[in-house]
């Protein structure tokens, strides 16, 4: 898909998500998921050496978090961090985005945060989710 078309789509998607969020409309999370998916496509189309490629990578992770999809944000971050061509500034920015999300979660669940980091909690949740109901008993 051409980047011009993806840029048009992401512009419209960001606008829509921001408007829904400003109005406090619940489906804003699905609108942010759309933003994340389009940013991910832009990240695939644009090299990390270009500013637009870095904007798209940060945008894909940030929008995934706004959509409440922490697993996806983590998976995207892991993939982008594994790219040897990624500059240190991008890697630092991606880690900062996840850390901010972790701090926000920890502030909402202060008691739980004393025992587990948000990342540990997410890993546990993913394992339970993958194993299904019987996995809990194993």
């Amino acid at each position: 898909m051409e980047t011009d078309l993806l840029n048009t789509l992401v512009t419209e998607a960001i606008w829509r998500a921001e408007e829904l969020e400003a109005l406090g409309i619940r489906p804003a999370s699905s609108a942010w998921e759309d933003v994340s998916r389009i940013e991910e496509q832009l990240a695939k189309a644009l090299p990390v050496s270009e500013a637009q490629g870095r904007i798209a990578r940060r945008g894909a992770v940030d929008a995934a978090l706004k959509a409440g999809d922490y697993d996806r944000a983590q998976a995207l971050t892991d993939g982008y961090l594994a790219d040897e061509a990624a500059p240190a500034s991008l890697k630092a920015a991606l880690r900062e985005i996840l850390e901010e999300a972790d701090q926000e979660i920890a502030s909402h669940f202060q008691h739980a945060a004393k025992h587990h980091t948000p990342r540990e909690a997410r890993d546990l949740a993913r394992r339970f989710n993958e194993a299904g109901a019987f996995g809990l008993a194993a």
Partner: protein
């Protein structure tokens, strides 16, 4: 709508400040039915109006074209490019009543935090006394 709400009509004179160089221009737009203004969010009218005016001005005076909108984390609303393909980060804001200079300073500080784009600009549009400023972070 942001201009008509302040009693202005199409063709109104506007003060322009491009990199601290002052000039005048005029703004024209299709006439708006103000009877439905209550259906719109007050701040949204100001911000959307500012974006329309700022982007038109950036194209008219700098020949910049829009690449994409950016998310808030990027500290700028728009990614633009000039005729040579150089990228520009542009932060836009609107002021319904009062002077625009204070807001311009705030927005320049904000867009300066964008680390990826060399050319960082802010534009503020005032609607009470129509005025537009477009300035780079090197210009303050």
């Amino acid at each position: 709508m942001a201009l008509e709400r302040n009693g202005h009509a199409p063709g109104v004179r506007v003060s322009l400040e491009l990199e601290q160089v002052l000039s005048n221009g005029s703004l024209s737009w299709p006439h708006v039915d103000m009877s439905k203004i209550d259906q719109h969010d007050h701040n949204r009218i100001t911000e959307d109006g500012a974006e329309a005016v700022a982007l038109a001005l950036a194209h008219r005076h700098r020949a910049w074209r829009i690449v994409r909108r950016m998310q808030r984390r990027e500290r700028a609303d728009w990614l633009l490019e000039d005729a040579r393909g150089n990228e520009i980060a542009l932060e836009v804001s609107g002021v319904d009543r009062g002077n625009i200079s204070g807001r311009l300073f705030e927005k320049l500080k904000q867009v300066a935090k964008n680390a990826d784009i060399d050319q960082r600009w802010a534009s503020v549009v005032g609607f009470e006394e129509p005025a537009v400023a477009l300035r780079s972070i090197g210009g303050y």
